[in-house]
Symmetry: none
């Protein structure tokens, strides 16, 4: 076993995050992914707090796990009650997991004001619960809630609570920085004192309220902590938990602590969790975000290619990510070539077509195009320049109307008409929509579906509008960025025009043509 | 002056972030907001790298600044050239700022491989440039690029470069953790050694690639650093810069270092920058995110109400944020009141109208409105609730048409018709435009000008569109933010609708009514 273990609580503490929830099947899938990846503990939920978590443990107990110990989370017994009579503790055993984590109160203020039991009774609650679970053969982790805030105020009582857990047989004491507001120096100092007091290492559980959740856990590891608790992508209550996606590579790559993890699958894991939580990927996430190894600008790119480590803190391949050279203004030939080759195009050295493509990119950029997030439009552009593009239809005309009528019989309506030719047939359609672009999108799909039934699998996933030169008011240029998906792949397209409808039209058509091209391939 | 100064580079390094860009007017507005907030230095751009940045300094030099020194960024002179002949250095002086920051190479590897000059020549480049700028009366900050990576490999040469800057008269040496991959312990240790070597404190500039950008800057401050450089919301290249929005409260509230900042306006500042960058707010941002003080679940909420500090690392009011229980409602009474009183409205304690206004704000926010950058719409809203609003006209109907016709006799046209009543007269106008909104804007002005000749002084300065719920494709809700100006004042208005035309209409009308109200006053 590694000198530091990774304890994942994505499925318990992570679900406290705003907008995060999983079905039971989602939870099983995340747990399987975490197990493959190699984490040591997977906290699946709090069986005593909700039935969905209990269902997870039921499912989990039927499966076999490679590296991870499935762990159930619960609380110390209630005050003035025998531990064996507490239904919440019973459900913890019913989860049938090899390991359990029990959270207990550390902060005297909290014990007496919120819990309303005596300080002595709190110690008994900790001790009884740990001993009872040990007697039933569980590996027991004791989670000392509010440890750091409590220690600052009353170190003596704080230490008594964790000593009670240790004396009752707890396998590991975990110091919990519940409010997320401590700074690294204090965490390091305190962890060092506690380890000296207990005579053995502890685990660390941090939150990110002060923006230093990862740094606090690293500080504890420096002080001798042997377990880091956190969540994938840092999801969790308020601003979130210690981000495992960040700290795992910090520990394994930078500090040389072998966690036994396959970090080349880190980005895949991060995106997988996002997908199941239905949360957009954070492009700026350390190590795994799309922007984490993104380089802008010609001169700089030249330097990166020359000496990668002068601009990259780690090799992106180590965490399953990759260098991205953005197709942005001032894009030199090397940028465009790297991107085109990444799409499978091959050019001989000195191929004149490279210059043609580059000129077209520059012309479009000067009009306000950006291809950073619109790879599909970029690929269509290359195909057009190479004479490899066959339009799906010929546009004859489209128009859209928006009407608002106030007063007693007021109404608002938006419709679009499309006239086009596909394979020699004229097709006219009309449809309504929530706005002019939505109406146009609806009418265009109506026109094309009979010819391309695969289009039913494709939908728009995101639609962004940017005014490029705001300084000229409502006559400003508009850039529309559309992300489309077929449920598996996603692709971005872009359109620019003085007119938002025209800009949207261009991006819509690129997205459809790209999809049909890939389907036919 | 505070023992630690805040150096904001939102407008220079921050614009290197994927998807971040500002117009010149945006940059001026951000700078004004930062100045009001109280930061000590505002780095406005790199005048030698692009004309937009030069335009910012031109504008900035015409204004007066309360607390901040406007700072221009540039590079040491090129190799084998006299400093006075380097056009990039000349443009740095042309920016006419009280302070300039010059970046130079520290890493020997970088000097010889990428820059292709000798190590000696690099020292001369640093020394010449700093001395030249000092001679022209500038406060000079010397930014030592790649300092930490370089120091690890070759401490001796690294120290020589900053010593060269110091000996040439630099007012402050700033250690730059360019690649963002260092860990706090190393940053602290290195900063301590450098300060001892130079015999005076340094500044610190960090990036967040290892997820510890804030912690690294804090570590440097512990070691004696006297300036922290970063960006609002942490925007910047790759995963971003040290997040000032996080570190400022860490320093001022937690570490007791008085930065002289009005932190109760922190959240407003963070949101303002997002709005102008047209980037969605990060709900999980420490201190300022909507979720930062959000509490889920009954028991927990009860405990929070009972004893706030057992679940909150700081009082949310200190950073202009607030506790959110369950469903988010961002605008608390105190926020709304503060804002209204700032506009000159007065309410007695317990005034029932405050509750009416608050309800309306909440209703609009739940529809997707945001008033952070739309003070004029907020003021109109209050007036409407107080019965102090008299509409300028009554709308009967408007409609707009967009038509694209391809082929030999192709054309594209966009027109709008407006029917309204002003002072008992019916007015019908029609006009064309570059897009449906521009056509509507033109037709509306045409209708109103005969009644309100002052309108000729007003124009739209900026127009931004944000799709609020991108996940539903082209049928998503649209928020339109319009900035108007009469050449002196600027004011923001907002409109929300499923339909971009309708959303724009609302913001247009608010902008015009606000202008006419202020002119009449």
């Amino acid at each position: 076993m590694s000198p530091v273990t990774i304890y994942d609580t994505t499925l318990r503490d992570g679900t406290q995050g705003t907008g995060i929830s999983y079905s039971t099947l989602d939870k099983i899938r995340v747990a399987e992914k975490l197990d493959e990846f190699g984490v040591h503990y997977i906290e699946g939920g709090w069986p005593g707090s909700n039935p969905k978590d209990a269902a997870f443990f039921e499912e989990a107990s039927k499966r076999s796990w490679k590296t991870a110990k499935i762990t159930a989370f619960g609380m110390t017994r209630r005050g003035k009650m025998k531990v064996e009579d507490d239904p919440q503790v019973k459900m913890l055993l019913d989860a049938k997991t090899p390991a359990v984590t029990v959270v207990g109160k550390t902060w005297a203020l909290h014990v007496t004001e919120v819990f309303q039991v005596s300080l002595e009774e709190n110690l008994a609650m900790i001790s009884d619960t740990v001993a009872y679970l040990k007697k039933h053969g569980r590996e027991v982790l004791y989670d000392a809630e509010h440890f750091f805030d409590s220690f600052k105020e009353n170190p003596e009582y704080s230490l008594k609570t964790i000593k009670a857990a240790q004396d009752a047989g707890a396998d590991l004491i975990v110091l919990c920085e519940t409010n997320g507001g401590a700074l690294p120096e204090f965490v390091e100092e305190t962890t060092r004192k506690v380890i000296a007091h207990l005579g053995r290492p502890v685990g660390i559980h941090t939150h990110n309220d002060g923006g230093v959740g990862v740094a606090n856990a690293l500080a504890a590891v420096r002080a001798g902590a042997c377990q880091v608790q956190g969540t994938i992508n840092g999801y969790g209550e308020r601003v979130g938990n210690c981000n495992l996606t960040t700290i795992m590579p910090n520990l394994q790559i930078k500090m040389g602590i072998d966690l036994g993890l396959d970090l080349t699958r880190l980005r895949e894991l991060a995106n997988f969790v996002d997908e199941l939580a239905n949360v957009p990927h954070d492009i700026r996430a350390p190590y795994v975000g799309v922007a984490a190894f993104t380089h802008k600008g010609g001169l700089h790119v030249h330097a990166v290619q020359k000496l990668a480590r002068t601009y990259e803190h780690v090799d992106p391949a180590l965490v399953g990510n990759q260098r991205v050279i953005t197709i942005s203004d001032m894009s030199g030939q090397s940028n465009v070539m790297m991107k085109a080759e990444g799409m499978g195009f091959k050019f001989a050295k000195g191929d004149a077509r490279v210059q043609t493509i580059l000129s077209e990119v520059k012309r479009l950029e000067s009009e306000g195009y950006e291809f950073e997030a619109a790879e599909a439009s970029f690929e269509m552009l290359i195909r057009k320049q190479l004479g490899q593009h066959k339009p799906v239809f010929d546009l004859i005309e489209y128009h859209s109307t928006h009407r608002f009528h106030g007063g007693e019989h007021g109404f608002e309506t938006c419709e679009a008409t499309i006239k086009l030719e596909v394979d020699g047939s004229r097709v006219y359609t009309v449809d309504e929509g929530d706005g002019p672009v939505n109406a146009l999108d609806n009418a265009l799909r109506k026109a094309l579906l009979p010819f391309f039934p695969a289009l039913k699998d494709m939908r728009l996933a995101d639609y962004k509008v940017r005014i490029i030169d705001g300084g000229t008011g409502t006559a400003a240029k508009t850039r529309v960025l559309i992300t489309s998906t077929d449920g598996n792949a996603t692709w971005g397209t872009v359109g620019v025009s003085c007119n938002i409808i025209d800009a949207s039209w261009k991006a819509l058509v690129d997205g459809i043509e790209y999809f049909l091209l890939k389907r036919a391939a």
